[in-house]
Symmetry: C2
Subunit: 185 residues, 2 copies
DNA sequence: CCCATATGAGACATATCTGTCTCATGAGCA
DNA sequence: TGCTCATGAGACAGATATGTCTCATATGGG
């Protein structure tokens, strides 16, 4: 049937994440070139640009959820969960960046899934505040923004070759946890 | 001579910052529309897209430098200088974002000026470390990344209406200074 | 009033991107 | 060997962005 060799599709997806994280407005030709694939082949797997974007968003959401779920499985507190999640997400930061920056409001299903993941993040922040991991006086929305942007900062550091993913994640975690820790202890 | 009414040019520039911060790949037609100006008029002021980008970059650099200079004039320490600069930059974050995200490597002069401003930031971080404002064990490059990305986080908070620029800058400063403060006191 | 000039509207050619189609090739399999 | 199918290469048309040009208008100064 549709026994398409999965390696080609995977190559396109990975190339797309790379290319779009370097240049949002890249053409499908650029993606095909990076994937080492003909432009027509790209269209055989993904009819058009919207379909490719949609597929990337779904993959990004799934990979991030998987990474976080696996990371938090062994966590004994919300604070530790955040720390482990951050380490898991830094290597996948171009996925996170894609979700945050590529206009996906157009697709209701994707937008809803992304909103849901943000809501879960907000809930976890609230719980972590109760634990004392974050200062309750800091708005939850700021914790979320700082979390996401420090992940991006860590990724930038890794990309420039200044640090390993583990080192960068450590720095990001230190900045977030120490920066937003409750002052009264 | 070239007595072009400055308001038109200013309107184009301001519209361009707005439009491009919302959508990197926006067309010149979008910019002209936002500026309330004919597309041909835009081309009269800026021959083409590269020239417009170059002009925006130069303006962004000048405005940021001006804001930082003014903010740090009254500072009595590097730490206070960082704090005041951050408050001054948050309202101009779309300029900072433009410089960081729009491909300006193509223009040697702009790239050099941007690199120079980053170098100055790195030097100031080094001095602030000596003051004890930042942990000397934290790589300077991480301080720079965290600084820029927390500014962006603050801007996002402001954009979503969750906070005023002052509130967001306060949160960003708290996160940065407390998060990277030397541990041994 | 008269003229210079900045502007808006729109026509126009060009370039790039996009999506479809056709055809030849080559690898895997019976 | 012969068949199937994914692929690469390239032609093609349509859409959009870009840059130039022309013409009519209006505003402001002399």
């Amino acid at each position: 049937m549709s026994k398409i060799r999965p390696t080609t599709q995977d190559a396109i997806v990975e190339a797309a994440f790379e290319v779009f994280s370097e240049n949002q407005g890249a053409s499908l030709g650029d993606v095909a070139l990076r994937a080492g694939v003909g432009r027509a082949t790209l269209h055989r797997h993904f009819p058009g640009r919207p379909e490719l974007m949609r597929a990337l968003a779904k993959i990004a959401l799934a990979e991030l959820e998987e990474a976080v779920e696996q990371a938090t499985a062994s966590a004994t507190s919300y604070e530790e969960g955040f720390r482990l999640s951050l380490f898991a997400i830094v290597p996948l930061a171009n996925r996170q960046w894609f979700l945050a920056n590529e206009g996906l409001e157009a697709d209701p299903e994707i937008a809803a899934a992304y909103d849901a993941s943000l809501d879960e993040l907000r809930r976890d922040v609230t719980e972590a505040k109760k634990e004392g991991a974050f200062d309750p006086n800091v708005p939850t929305e700021w914790v979320v923004e700082a979390y996401e942007n420090l992940i991006y900062a860590a990724w930038s550091l890794v990309r420039s070759g200044e640090a390993t993913p583990k080192q960068a994640a450590e720095l990001a975690w230190r900045t977030l946890s120490q920066g937003l820790k409750g002052r009264a202890e």
